[in-house]
């Protein structure tokens, strides 16, 4: 593989793996704190699937990068500016409703992207996506149901879900921003152009929000800067201090 191609593919894989890593870590923060036991277990299981997918994406990223690193090196030894996740996944959990709204906004995107990646020209990408797609279709069923249940629930839960949607929606646009790297990846048949997923995503959100009696903000303004590494929110550094402290304090330590 030419050096330029390798750099572009590594960047794509980091974007995939960093999304699942940071969201997985965020969701795992609920472990032992969820409102009921069943939800606690559901959140922990979702986080576990996301971390599993991270191992596959970052494991492949490390191989393609060719610097002798592992998935663990990439997860635990990079600093905030090297992360390529969208800003949405690093936002704070807020209340249970906000966590599930964020999960739905992510799952909806992921559930549209993954079946397309399963036909990627890159065999490894296709294999990872095939595996992940099964888990994601399960996640989106639950997150969509919960958004509907809480949105179309009590006055209190409805108000909270609308506030969560108003807060999070200005971050979803970042999923669909394309840059030169995305164009190269799309041209090579590795992944679709991110912008090409927007119509299906909007349609999905319209349907779920209508059932949930929630109103999608009209403004399409989007925060961005995570997936291209320009500027993360202040929250990412805080996540990393917790996620990485052990490897930082005791370098190379193993379980």
């Amino acid at each position: 593989m030419a050096k330029q191609d390798r750099t572009t593919l590594t960047e794509f894989l980091l974007r995939m793996g960093d999304n699942t890593l940071i969201l997985g870590h965020r969701v795992s923060e609920w472990c032992g704190h969820a409102p009921v036991l069943e939800e606690d277990i559901a959140l922990a299981n979702t986080a576990l699937d996301l971390i599993g997918q991270t191992q596959l994406w970052l494991g492949y990223a490390a191989e393609v990068q060719g610097e002798g690193k592992t998935a663990d090196d990439l997860a635990f030894l990079r600093d905030a500016w090297d992360f390529r996740n969208v800003l949405l996944v690093e936002l704070p959990n807020g209340d249970f409703g906000q966590t599930l709204m964020r999960q739905f906004l992510f799952d909806a995107w992921s559930s549209i992207l993954m079946p397309r990646l399963a036909t990627s020209s890159d065999t490894r990408v296709a294999e990872i996506a095939e595996k992940a797609a099964k888990e994601i279709s399960y996640h989106v069923e639950r997150s969509a149901d919960t958004v509907v249940g809480l949105g179309d629930g009590t006055e209190e839960s409805h108000t909270r879900m609308q506030a969560a949607l108003d807060y999070l929606y200005p971050y979803v646009g970042e999923f669909f921003l394309s840059d030169a790297g995305d164009a190269a990846i799309a041209a090579a048949g590795i992944a679709p152009d991110p912008a090409s997923l927007r119509a299906e995503y909007d349609d999905f959100l319209d349907r779920v929000m209508a059932k949930a009696t929630l109103t999608l903000p009209e403004d399409r303004f989007t925060h961005h800067g995570g997936r291209n590494g320009e500027m993360h929110t202040e929250h990412l550094g805080h996540i990393l201090t917790q996620m990485q402290w052990l490897q930082r304090a005791y370098p190379g330590n193993t379980w």
Binding site: L48, D49, G52, E127, Y138, R142
Partner: protein, 157 residues
């Protein structure tokens, strides 16, 4: 080194693998679960191909260790464990024997319809779902409305 003449047949290896219990659900074996995809001799090295149930399942590394320990105890010292992601594991690969053992153990086996057919304790079909998720990534929580017992359901994927 195992000489070609007296190296165990792949059928024999499958039989040994069928004796290794799943670390999370010891009632069924690794072959009942359908995660062993291939057993093959390549020269003097035995290659065993395993597919994960869920990408983040913590039992995966333990399963590999148990396979290694079991096969070494049968005298196989050149062993290559391969991970295969595609085709992705499906509960369709679970053996009929495995399904029966699960039910006897108290876990409702996976059904294409997406929910358990009957309560593994009293056989009633008057059931309700408590949670899509359960104590391991491969299970969900259900309850029988007749005997009121909660039970695990092996998710169908």
């Amino acid at each position: 080194m195992v000489a070609a003449m007296n190296r165990p047949s792949t059928d024999q290896v499958w039989e040994w693998l069928g004796e290794i219990p799943d670390p999370e659900i010891p009632a069924i074996s690794l072959t009942d679960l359908g995660i062993v995809r291939d057993v093959e001799w390549l020269g003097d090295t035995l290659t065993v191909t395993v597919t994960p149930t869920y990408s983040g399942c913590p039992a995966t590394s333990l399963i590999n260790m148990e396979i290694e320990t079991a096969l070494r105890s049968h005298g196989i010292d050149k062993l290559d464990l391969k991970r295969q992601l595609s085709p992705a594991w499906t509960t369709d690969w679970m053996s009929d024997e495995g399904r029966k053992k699960l039910e006897t153990y108290g876990i409702a086996p996976p059904q294409p319809a997406g929910g358990p057919k009957a309560c593994p304790r009293c056989g009633s079909d008057n059931l309700e779902r408590l949670s899509q998720f359960g104590s391991t990534p491969c299970k969900a929580q259900w309850r029988c409305r007749d005997c009121l017992e909660p039970f695990d359901y092996f998710k169908c994927i």
